[in-house]
C-alpha cells in the first residue's frame, strides 16, 4: 500500500520532467510586447555620418535583428535571417550590438549581408532599452511602431516559418 504511493509519486515526477522537456525556460514573455518600440537614433554601420531612427519606419511592419560579429549563435541564425529577408515580407534592419565597425563590416562581407541596413549600437545603450540579454534577438514591429513579437536566441527555421512569417503576413494584411 505504502509502496504504491512511492511508485505513483515517481510516475508523476517522470511525467512532469517529460513535459518539462518540451518547454523552453528561456522563453520569457517580454514586457515590451504590445508596447511602443523604445526610441533611438543611431548611425548607420556602413555610413556613420547618416543616422536612422525607429520613427523612420512608421507606416510599415519591419523586423529588427540584434547581432554582433563576436556572437557565434548569430552565425547559426544567419541563413534563417537571410531567408527571411529574401522572402520580402518585411524589411530586416540589423542592430549591430556592442561591436566594432572594423570587426562588423568584414563579418558581413564574409558571410553575406542580409540586412536592408544595420545601425550601430557600440555602447549597448539601446540594447538596455530593448531589454537585450541574449544576442541574437529579433523583434517584429508593426506599422504603428508597436513591438508585436520578440525572440531571444538564434532564429530557427521553425520559429521563422511558424511564428515570424505568419505574423508578418497578418501585419501586411492589417496595413
Amino acid at each position: 500500500m505504502k509502496t504504491g504511493w512511492v511508485v505513483a509519486a515517481f510516475a508523476a515526477l517522470v511525467v512532469l520532467l517529460g513535459v518539462g522537456l518540451t518547454l523552453n525556460p528561456r522563453e520569457v514573455p517580454s514586457p515590451l510586447v504590445g508596447k511602443a518600440a523604445p526610441g533611438f537614433e543611431l548611425p548607420l554601420l556602413h555610413a556613420p555620418e547618416k543616422t536612422f531612427s525607429q520613427k523612420d519606419m512608421l507606416g510599415k511592419a519591419w523586423v529588427l535583428n540584434v547581432w554582433a560579429s563576436w556572437c557565434p549563435p548569430c552565425l547559426v541564425e544567419h541563413p534563417v535571417v537571410t531567408a527571411l529577408a529574401q522572402s520580402g515580407l518585411a524589411p530586416v534592419v540589423g542592430l549591430n550590438y556592442k561591436d566594432r565597425r572594423e570587426d562588423a563590416l568584414p563579418w558581413l562581407k564574409k558571410h553575406g549581408d542580409p540586412y536592408r541596413f544595420s545601425v550601430q549600437d557600440a555602447a549597448g545603450r539601446i540594447g538596455i532599452d530593448y531589454g537585450v540579454y541574449g544576442v541574437p534577438e529579433t523583434y517584429v514591429i508593426d506599422r504603428r511602431g508597436t513591438i508585436r513579437y520578440k525572440h531571444i536566441g538564434p532564429l530557427t527555421p521553425e520559429v521563422s516559418r511558424g511564428k515570424l512569417q505568419p505574423l508578418l503576413q497578418e501585419l501586411s494584411r492589417e496595413g
Binding site: 512511492v6 511508485v7 515517481f10 517522470v14 525556460p25
Partner: protein
C-alpha cells in the same frame, strides 16, 4: 589517432559493461559460480578502458588538438596547462566522461574490497553497477561523444569559460561526481539485497562504509562549489538556492538520512524497508540532478548546452534505473519484515524523527526547485522561486533536527527514559540557552535567529562532548560521528553569524577615496592595468586600516577575456577566523571613478570549516575496523538461514 583510440576504448567499455551487467546477475540467480566470477575482472577491465579514454581526452587538450570539437569549443592555446587539463571536464561531454570514470573507479574499488562478502552479493552489486555504467556509456557515445572531430580545423579554440578558470573549479566537479556516483554503490547494494531477498543487518553493515564515503565526497564537493561561488562570482554570496545547487543538496540531505537509517538497520535490524527506499531515492536524486543540469528544463548558471535528445535519454535512464528499482521494492517489501521493536522514547525513534525531518527538508527543496517547472508545464506561467522561500521553509525544519542531534547519540537503543535523559542533558541545555541569550551581544545587536542558531550550535557541541565522556568503549565510528556533529555546529555558527551580522557598502571611488565599514577604512590607492596569459585586467590596490593601524593590502581585479568576450570580477578577500574582508571592483565610471563593493563577512569561513570537519568525521567513521572484518560466523549463518 589518439581521439579515435579513446572512442574505441569507450565502445569496448560499453560491451564489457553489458557483459558485467548481465552475466553475474544471471549467474547469481542460477547459482553459477563461473558466471558470477566474471564480475570482478569485468569491473577492473571497464575501469581501465574508461581511464584510457579519459587519458586520450586529456591528451587532446594538452596538445591543443583543435580538430576535436570538444577541445576547440572549450580550450585555447593561450590557456595555461593546468586549466587545459581541467577543461577536459569543463564541457558537457567531458564531464560525462568524468562521471563514467568515477563510476569505473567505484566499481573497481567494490571489486577490490569485497573479499569478505558472499560471492553472490558481490556479483549482484557489480552487475547492477555494470548496468548503470552501460546506460551512461551509451548516453556518452550516442548523444555526447567527447571525441567528435571538427572539420575544417579551427586555428584556435574558443577558450574555457572564464568562470571555470579557477583552482576550485578544477576539483569541485570531480569531488561532486565522486559523491553523486558513490550513491550508485549504495543503490547497487540496495537493489542487490532486494534481488536476493536478504535485507538484514549484514547488508546494512556492508553498505555503510560505501555510503559514508560517497557522502563525504558529496559534502566536500558541495562545500567547494559554495566556496567557488563565494570568491569567484564576486559578490560575496555563498549559497544561492540555484536549481543546480539544490540538485546537489537534495542527494546530500537524503544521503544524510540514509547514513543514520543504515546505522539503525545495522544495530537493531529496524527500518529495513525505509533504508532501502532511501538508498534508491538518494541515487534517484543524483540522477535527477544530472537531468536538471543536462536537459535544460530549468535555467541556471550551471546549465550546459541544451539538447532535447540528451534530456530524453537521461529521462529514460532515470526511469530505467529508478523505476525498476521501485517496482522491485514494491514487490519485495512485504517480505522484508520489521526488525527489532522499540519504544516511543528510544534512540530508534529519535533517529526516525531525524530521518523524517531530513526527508521533509529534501521534499521542501525539491518542491521549490521543481515548482517553476510544474507551473510552466500546467499553466504556462513563468516564475522563479527565490531564496526567501527556501530560507522560510528550511529553518523551521532544520532547527528541531539540530536539537534532536544532541539527544540522539545519548539515548539508549530500544527504550530510553525521559527523566534520565533530562538529568543527563540539563547542564548542556542550560549552557546552550545561556549562550543563545548572551552570546549575540558579543557581536552587536540581539536577534532571535542569531540566538537560536548559537544556542543550537552550543547544544550540539555540549552534547557531543557529553557523549564522549559518558561512553566507555570508544570506536573510530563513534569519534567520527562526534566530529561530524561538531562540524555541523561549526557550520551553523558560520551561517548564523554571516546572516546576522554581515555588512556591505557600495561606493563610487576615485584613487585617493576611502570608505569606512565596521571600523575598517578601505582606501583606493590606484588602479593599474595588468595582463594575464589569456586576459587583460584592471587591478585596484586598497590599503585597509583599522583605527589608523594598517591591516592589509587588497588587490581586486576586473578581468576581460577577449576570446569569450566576458568580463569577470576577481574579488580580493582577506580571510580570517572571525571574518573575511571582501572587496570587489565593479564597472569603470566616467572621470576615472570605479564602482566598488566592500563587504565584511563575519565567521564565513566557519561554513566551509564545518563541512571539512563533517567530511573528516565521515572518513573516520568509514575507516572503523569492524567494516573490514568478516561478519561473525553466527550472524552469517543466521543470514543464510533467512535466505
Amino acid at each position: 589517432m589518439i581521439p579515435e583510440l579513446g572512442q574505441l576504448a569507450l565502445s569496448v567499455a560499453l560491451v564489457v559493461a553489458l557483459v558485467q551487467g548481465i552475466l553475474p546477475l544471471a549467474g547469481a540467480a542460477r547459482g553459477d559460480a563461473a558466471w558470477m566470477g566474471v564480475a570482478r575482472p569485468a569491473a577492473h577491465a571497464q575501469a581501465l578502458l574508461i581511464a584510457f579514454a579519459f587519458g586520450c581526452l586529456v591528451q587532446s587538450f594538452v596538445v591543443n588538438d583543435f580538430s576535436v570539437q570538444n577541445v576547440a569549443m572549450n580550450s585555447n592555446s593561450a590557456l595555461p596547462l593546468h586549466f587545459r587539463v581541467a577543461a577536459s571536464w569543463g564541457s558537457h561531454e567531458g564531464s560525462l566522461l568524468l562521471w563514467c570514470l568515477m563510476l569505473g573507479g567505484w566499481m573497481s574499488a567494490v571489486a577490490l574490497f569485497s573479499a569478505h562478502l558472499p560471492e553472490s552479493m558481490t556479483a549482484r552489486v557489480l552487475g547492477v553497477l555494470g548496468l548503470v555504467s552501460a546506460g551512461f556509456l551509451a548516453f556518452l557515445l550516442f548523444t555526447s561523444n567527447p571525441f567528435d572531430r571538427l572539420f575544417p580545423v579551427p586555428a584556435d579554440g574558443r577558450d574555457l569559460n572564464p568562470l571555470l578558470q579557477d583552482a576550485g573549479m578544477v576539483i569541485h566537479p570531480p569531488m561532486l561526481y565522486m559523491g553523486y556516483v558513490g550513491f550508485s554503490v549504495a543503490y547497487a547494494f540496495a537493489v542487490a539485497a532486494l534481488l536476493s531477498g536478504r535485507l538484514d543487518a549484514a547488508w546494512a553493515r556492508w553498505s555503510r562504509p560505501w555510503t559514508t564515503v560517497a557522502w563525504v565526497f558529496l559534502t566536500l564537493g558541495i562545500a567547494l562549489g559554495s566556496g567557488w561561488a563565494y570568491y569567484e562570482l564576486g559578490w560575496g554570496g555563498w549559497w544561492f538556492w540555484d536549481p543546480v545547487e539544490n540538485a546537489s543538496f537534495l542527494p546530500w540531505l537524503v544521503g544524510t538520512a540514509l547514513i543514520h537509517s543504515l546505522a539503525v538497520t545495522e544495530k537493531r535490524g529496524a527500518f529495513r524497508s525505509w533504508t532501502v527506499l532511501l538508498a534508491i531515492v538518494a541515487f534517484a536524486l543524483s540522477l535527477l540532478g544530472t537531468f536538471l543540469v543536462r536537459s535544460g528544463v530549468l535555467t541556471s548558471v550551471h546549465a550546459f548546452a541544451v539538447d532535447p535528445a540528451r534530456g530524453v535519454f537521461i529521462l529514460a535512464l532515470f526511469v530505467g534505473a529508478i523505476g525498476s528499482a521501485l517496482v522491485l521494492y514494491a514487490w519485495r517489501t512485504s517480505r522484508i519484515g520489521l526488525g527489532g521493536g522499540f519504544e516511543p522514547v528510544s534512540r530508534e525513534s529519535l533517529l526516525l524523527a531525524n530521518n523524517v525531518l531530513l526527508v521533509t527538508a529534501a521534499g521542501a527543496v525539491l518542491l521549490g526547485t521543481l515548482y517553476p517547472l510544474a507551473l510552466d508545464a500546467f499553466t504556462g506561467g513563468k516564475i522563479s522561486v527565490g531564496p526567501q522561500y527556501f530560507e522560510i521553509v528550511f529553518v523551521p525544519i532544520m532547527a528541531p533536527a539540530l536539537f534532536l542531534m544532541g539527544v540522539g547519540p545519548l539515548a539508549r537503543w530500544k527504550r530510553a527514559s525521559l527523566p534520565e535523559l533530562a538529568v543527563l542533558l540539563r547542564w548542556a541545555l542550560g549552557v546552550s540557552l545561556a549562550a543563545g541569550l548572551l552570546l549575540p551581544f558579543a557581536f552587536g545587536q540581539w536577534h532571535a535567529l542569531v540566538g537560536l542558531g548559537l544556542a543550537l550550535a552550543v547544544w550540539i557541541v555540549a552534547t557531543a562532548l557529553l557523549s564522549l565522556r559518558k561512553r566507555l568503549r570508544q570506536t573510530r565510528a563513534h569519534y567520527g560521528m562526534v566530529l561530524a556533529h561538531i562540524g555541523v555546529a561549526v557550520f551553523v555558527v558560520g551561517v548564523t553569524l554571516v546572516n546576522g551580522y554581515e555588512s556591505e557598502q557600495d561606493a563610487k571611488m576615485v584613487p585617493g577615496d576611502s570608505v569606512t565599514l565596521d571600523g575598517y577604512a578601505f582606501r583606493l590607492d590606484s588602479v593599474r592595468p595588468v595582463n594575464g596569459p589569456n586576459y587583460r585586467a584592471a587591478q585596484a590596490m586598497f590599503t585597509v586600516t583599522r583605527d589608523g593601524a594598517p591591516v592589509t593590502v587588497m588587490r581586486p581585479e576586473r578581468r576581460s577575456y577577449p576570446v569569450q568576450d566576458q568580463t569577470m570580477t576577481e574579488a580580493a578577500i582577506k580571510p580570517g577566523l572571525t571574518g573575511d574582508l571582501y572587496v570587489s571592483l565593479g564597472d569603470p565610471l566616467e572621470g576615472g571613478a570605479w564602482l566598488v563593493k566592500v563587504q565584511i563577512k563575519p565567521f564565513i569561513d566557519w561554513i566551509w570549516g564545518g563541512c571539512v570537519l563533517m567530511a573528516i568525521g565521515g572518513l573516520l567513521a568509514a575507516s572503523d575496523r569492524r567494516y573490514r572484518q568478516p561478519m561473525p560466523a553466527r550472524r552469517e549463518q543466521a543470514a543464510e538461514a533467512a535466505a
